[in-house]
């Protein structure tokens, strides 16, 4: 087993220093499907090195927000500035090229492939051998395969999934599939990692493991993370700042403590009687 040095939560105060410039800013994003507005006028930013949580009740537009960030949906209004560049429409694979990684709410692994191949797929953008070299499996193609295999093995060690390396992922239990999916996203060495409910449907132990991996990825690789999560305990513990959405609008934005005390957020989660 790899030495998984989970940072004790007490050390988290020191992390504040790592948080730097604004990495991604969304300005006045509005996204509509036909007449239905999924997102209305949303603005917030994500800073270099932070863990940014997006929370909100079901149907608040959280997943749509991530889909807008990595180019799967194209908003009708608003701007997205990533690494200082304001972009027009962008295809998801271009977003990936610029360092935006992603996991999915409903696991989106390549079910016919093994764990190893799934994570190797995450290295696609870093491999440049030509087609013919791959046909003969010589020279650059072979060197690349071996070099990236080594990189992938480090991720496999990091996530402690050595034992399932050669198993087809379709048959793995849910918690492990989530972990493989995180591994695949990490293999792209993302600058910004978007996690869509990484802990949904997990038991306490699995959640603790997953938290540890997220924090480690954030600290060891310096990956900026934006995550959607329903478990408030997790959100409050691991995130630096939280943005709250409800019905496609932004309710609140700030540190976990600020958000927790915000009356609008309490209303949205607990309901309120307006009398």
């Amino acid at each position: 087993m790899a030495p998984a040095e989970a940072a004790p939560l007490s050390e988290r105060a020191s992390r504040a220093r790592q948080v730097g410039e604004v990495l991604l800013a969304v300005d006045n994003i509005t996204l509509r499907f036909g007449g239905v507005a999924a997102l209305t006028n949303i603005s917030f930013d994500i800073r270099q090195g932070e863990i940014r949580a997006i929370i909100g009740p079901n149907g608040a537009g959280k997943s749509s927000m991530l889909n807008v960030i990595n180019g799967f949906y194209h908003p009708q209004e608003g701007r997205i500035t990533y690494q200082g560049k304001t972009r027009a429409r962008m295809r998801p694979h271009e977003a990936a090229k610029r360092g935006i990684g992603r996991t999915f709410q409903n696991i989106a692994l390549f079910k016919g492939m093994t764990t190893l191949d799934n994570i190797m797929t995450g290295r696609v953008l870093k491999m440049h051998a030509g087609f013919l070299a791959q046909v003969v499996y010589l020279g650059r193609a072979k060197q690349e395969e071996l070099a990236h295999r080594a990189a992938v093995e480090r991720i496999i060690d990091f996530l402690e999934i050595q034992a399932i390396r050669n198993q087809p992922v379709g048959k793995l239990p849910y918690g492990l599939q989530k972990r493989v999916e995180l591994g695949r996203a990490l293999a792209t060495e993302p600058t910004l990692l978007l996690l869509d409910e990484p802990m949904a449907g997990m038991n306490l132990e699995e959640k603790e493991d997953m938290c540890r991996f997220i924090l480690d990825a954030n600290e060891e690789f310096g990956t900026t993370i934006a995550l959607i999560e329903h478990d408030m305990g997790v959100v409050m513990d691991i995130s630096d700042r939280v943005v709250v959405l409800d019905y496609g609008r932004k309710l609140a934005d700030g540190s976990p403590d600020v958000v927790r005390g915000d009356p609008a957020v309490i209303d949205a989660y607990l309901g309120v009687s307006h009398d």
């Binding site: 694979h93 992603r102 989106a108 390549f110 791959q134 395969e145 295999r149 080594a150």
Partner: protein
């Protein structure tokens, strides 16, 4: 315990990523290669070489090609027959327009000059010209396949399958209607001209079955190796990622355009090669009858029965689809004397054909029910049994 990974330790990623990781596998493949290349040509009859083994190997290449597209990249195609036809006709055009390397240079420069025919290490490189022709025809097929693959960027699944039927019917119609493709031969049938390779005649009516067989065997092995290599590299993983979950694939940086089009091109290359071999090595002529929609289905069956997304499956599927009708034919014909003795009507040729259709249809359903992952999966299961034998738990 007869077949096991235990005790075989790989100390490098290179060893772990080898095609045949286990010594047993390496011995087995070496054994089969020797049998195929040496033992069989020396022992079996010309009938077996010409009517069983050669077609089996050619169709295995076609099955490998379709497996790249359908098995690995998940794009269903019913146009295989047409791309085989394209390979055949392009080879014919190239081989008649450019009978030799000097003819090519002559047509490019306008100067007819006799090239030297050097001998390097006992090989006359210019005697590999036919190989170059085949590759050229394959490349043309690849480009056309790529064009017909363009709709796959927007159209998915069964919708795409219907658009591939456009390729099937349109190309075959084109070859019938445009006499240029057969060099204006009156019956629309272009006879395959004799060609040599390394001094051995491999095409044309007079070429010996052994030459043809060995030629096809070599190409089949190369095709299988190429597919195996590609599918364990980046491109292959991109294909499989697109097949399994195209949206997720795109979000980790795989360009669906490149993945799908490369699959169409590579697949068409192999299918075109198979079509060329079918015309030049198997039936000695290029004609559209050999490339109808039925051929498209046959190759699809090979891939499904053999196993989608496996190299081994392409071979098992091709063997099954090519050999079953022949064995069925032999078996039913053998019953005839017995039937006549009993005063029953004998099986006629047409009836055997009908029964073949029925049995084929039934077998497809049977296989889909019993083992949807194909014959290759049965081999996996057998290996698993061998691992644990004699103690199943």
């Amino acid at each position: 315990m007869l077949y096991r990974e235990t005790g075989v330790f790989h100390s490098s990623y290179a060893a772990d990523q080898a095609i045949f990781k286990l010594p047993q596998d390496r011995y087995a493949i070496a054994f089969w290669l020797v049998v195929a290349a040496v033992v069989l040509p020396l022992t079996v009859s010309n009938y077996v070489l010409t009517d069983l083994l050669t077609p089996f190997l050619i169709m295995a290449i076609a099955a490998l090609g379709l497996n790249v597209l359908t098995g690995y990249c998940g794009q269903l195609s019913l146009g295989t027959g047409a791309f085989m036809a394209l390979g055949g006709y392009m080879t014919y055009k190239l081989v008649t327009a450019l009978p030799s390397a000097s003819a090519l240079i002559g047509s490019l420069t306008g100067v007819e000059l006799a090239l030297p025919d050097p001998v390097i290490l006992g090989i006359r490189p210019f005697d590999l010209w036919f190989l170059a022709i085949l590759i050229g025809a394959g490349l043309i097929t690849a480009v056309v396949g790529l064009v017909f693959g363009l709709p796959s960027l927007k159209i998915k699944g069964l919708y795409l399958a219907v658009t591939t039927l456009a390729a099937q019917f349109f190309l075959v119609w084109l070859f019938i209607k445009v006499p240029w493709f057969t060099n204006y031969s009156p019956a629309g049938i272009a006879p395959a001209p004799p060609r040599t390779l390394l001094g051995l005649q491999v095409t044309g009516a007079a070429s010996p079955p052994v030459n043809r067989y060995l030629f096809v065997l070599a190409l089949t092995c190369l095709a299988a190796l190429a597919v195996k290599n590609v599918t364990r590299c980046k491109v292959g993983r991109s294909w499989m990622a697109i097949r399994d979950m195209d949206i997720a694939a795109e979000m980790i940086g795989i360009s669906p355009t490149r993945a799908k089009l490369s699959a169409f091109a590579f697949s068409s290359f192999l299918i075109g090669l198979a079509g060329a071999l079918w015309a030049f090595v198997k039936i000695n002529s290029v004609q559209t009858d050999a490339y109808g929609i039925l051929v498209s289905f046959q190759v699809l069956f090979m891939v499904i029965i053999g196993g989608l997304g496996t190299v081994l499956g392409s071979f098992l599927g091709a063997a099954f689809v090519i050999l079953t009708p022949i064995l069925l034919n032999i078996g039913l014909t053998a019953l005839n004397p017995g039937l006549q003795a009993l005063g029953l009507p004998a099986f006629e040729v047409a009836m055997i054909k009908h029964i073949e259709f029925m049995i084929f249809g039934a077998l497809i359903i049977f296989f889909l029910i019993v083992e949807p992952h194909g014959l290759a999966r049965l081999w996996q299961i057998a290996k698993q049994k061998l691992r644990t034998w004699p103690f199943p738990y």
